[in-house]
C-alpha cells in the first residue's frame, strides 16, 4: 500500500496508508467477500484517497518534500546509497514515464494485484478501456526498458 502511494510520488505515503486503513476499518462491517475482494476493496479505498489527495494538492499547491540528500547535515551511507537510490530512482522514472491514467492502472495491477475487472471497477472504467490502457502502458515501458538495456 505504501509502495502504491510512493510510486505515485506521494510525500506522506505512510500517513496516506494509515488513512486508508482507517477508512477500511470504518467500512469493514459492511464488507462481504473473500481475500481477493478485500484486497480490491482496500485498493479501491486507496485509489479514492489518492484522488482526494490530488484534488487537495491542486487547491493548496504542492509542497516540496524533504530531500535528505539536499540537507547539508546529511551524511551519505554507502549501503543505503547502493541499495536504495538506484532502484528507487529507476522505479520512479519508470512510473513517471506513464500518463496518469495508465500509471494508475499499472500501479493497481503492480501493487494491488488486482485483476482487470477489479481494476476497471476501481478506476470507474470499462474492462476494455483498462486493457487498452495497460497495453499502451506496457508498450511504453518496453521502450524504456529496451533503452535502459541498450545503454
Amino acid at each position: 500500500m505504501a509502495g502504491y502511494f510512493l510510486a505515485h510520488g506521494a510525500d506522506d505515503a505512510e500517513d496516506l496508508t494509515s488513512e486508508v486503513f482507517i477508512g477500511v476499518f470504518a467500512k469493514l462491517r459492511s464488507f462481504r467477500g473473500d481475500e481477493e475482494d478485500l484486497r480490491a476493496f482496500v485498493f479501491s479505498v486507496a485509489h479514492h484517497r489518492w484522488v482526494d489527495e490530488l484534488r487537495r494538492r491542486s487547491r493548496r499547491g504542492r509542497t516540496d518534500p524533504y530531500d535528505e540528500q539536499a540537507d547539508p547535515r546529511w551524511v551519505p551511507s554507502a549501503e543505503a546509497d547502493a541499495l536504495s537510490s538506484i532502484d528507487a530512482r529507476r522505479a520512479r522514472e519508470l512510473v513517471e514515464a506513464l500518463p496518469p491514467d495508465q500509471r494508475e492502472v499499472m500501479l493497481l495491477r503492480f501493487f494491488g494485484d488486482l485483476t482487470l475487472e477489479q481494476t476497471a471497477s476501481t478506476v470507474g472504467k470499462r474492462v476494455e478501456a483498462v486493457k487498452a490502457l495497460q497495453h499502451r502502458a506496457l508498450a511504453r515501458l518496453r521502450k524504456i526498458l529496451e533503452q535502459a538495456v541498450s545503454l
Binding site: 500500500m1 505504501a2 509502495g3 510512493l6 510510486a7 505515503a13 505512510e14 500517513d15 496508508t17 494509515s18 488513512e19 486503513f21 482507517i22 476499518f25 470504518a26 469493514l28 462491517r29 536504495s84 532502484d87 528507487a88 530512482r89 529507476r90 522505479a91 520512479r92 519508470l94 512510473v95 499499472m106 500501479l107 495491477r109 503492480f110 501493487f111 494485484d113 485483476t115 482487470l116 475487472e117 474492462v127 486493457k131 495497460q134 497495453h135 506496457l138 508498450a139 515501458l141 518496453r142 526498458l145
Partner: protein, 235 residues
Amino acid sequence: MSLFDDDDDVMRRFRSCEGASAPADDVATFDAARALVRAGMPVLPPAANVDLASLLREGTPRRSRMNPLAKVAGLGLAGKLALAGGVALAASAGGLTVAGIATSGNSHAAAGLATAGADHGAPDHATPAVTDPTSSATPSNHGTCVSAVARATPEPSDSPNAHGQAVSAVAQSDCDKPASSGQGKPTSLPSQANAHASDHLSGKPSSLPPSHPTGKPSSLPPSHPTGAPTAPTGH
C-alpha cells in the same frame, strides 16, 4: 522466498488475461516492470499514524442501533415472561419486598419451605440445605419461588389486587425454573430418579432433592415409612 508471495498468482492471472491471450512481449514487460517498480519501493511496512494506532489499540467504536423496544422484541418467550414478571413486581409490590425477592429469592424460598415443613410435622433433622435458609447451596424451584412471593405480606398502601397480581406474575415467570427443563418434565434422567429412589428405600437422606416430575412444588416432604430422615425425592 519472494518478498511478494503472490507473484505467481498475479502472473498466472495476467498470463491468462482473464480468458484472452496476452502477447508474449506484454507478459515479459509486465514482469520486468513490476519487479523493477516493486524493488524500488521500501520493504519495511510503514508506521501507523496516531489515529490508526489508537484505532488499532481501542478498536472501532460499537454503536447499538437497537432501540429498547426492539431489544424487548428480540427476547425469547422466557425472557419476555421474566421481564413482565419483574415489571409487574416492581409496579405492584412494595420496594422492600421486591428488593428482598430480587436479591435473596433463594433464601426466601428456603425459608418458606422450612416453614411449611415445620407446619406439617416434618422432622427437625431434615436435610441441612433445606433447614438452613442462609446456605448458598439451598435448593429451590419454581414452586418455592412462587410460594415466597405468596407468603410475603402485602404493603398496606398496595391496591387490593396487587398481591395476587404479583403472585400471578411470578408464577408465570421463569423464576428458579431450570433452563433445560420444560414445564412438567422431570429434570433428572430415569436412572438418576431410580438412584434417588434406591437412596430413599435404603433410608439414606438425599442431599439434593430433585424437582418434582409433575412440576408441583414439593413443599410437603413425605415422611418416610420407616421413620428415617426424609427429604423431597423424585417419585
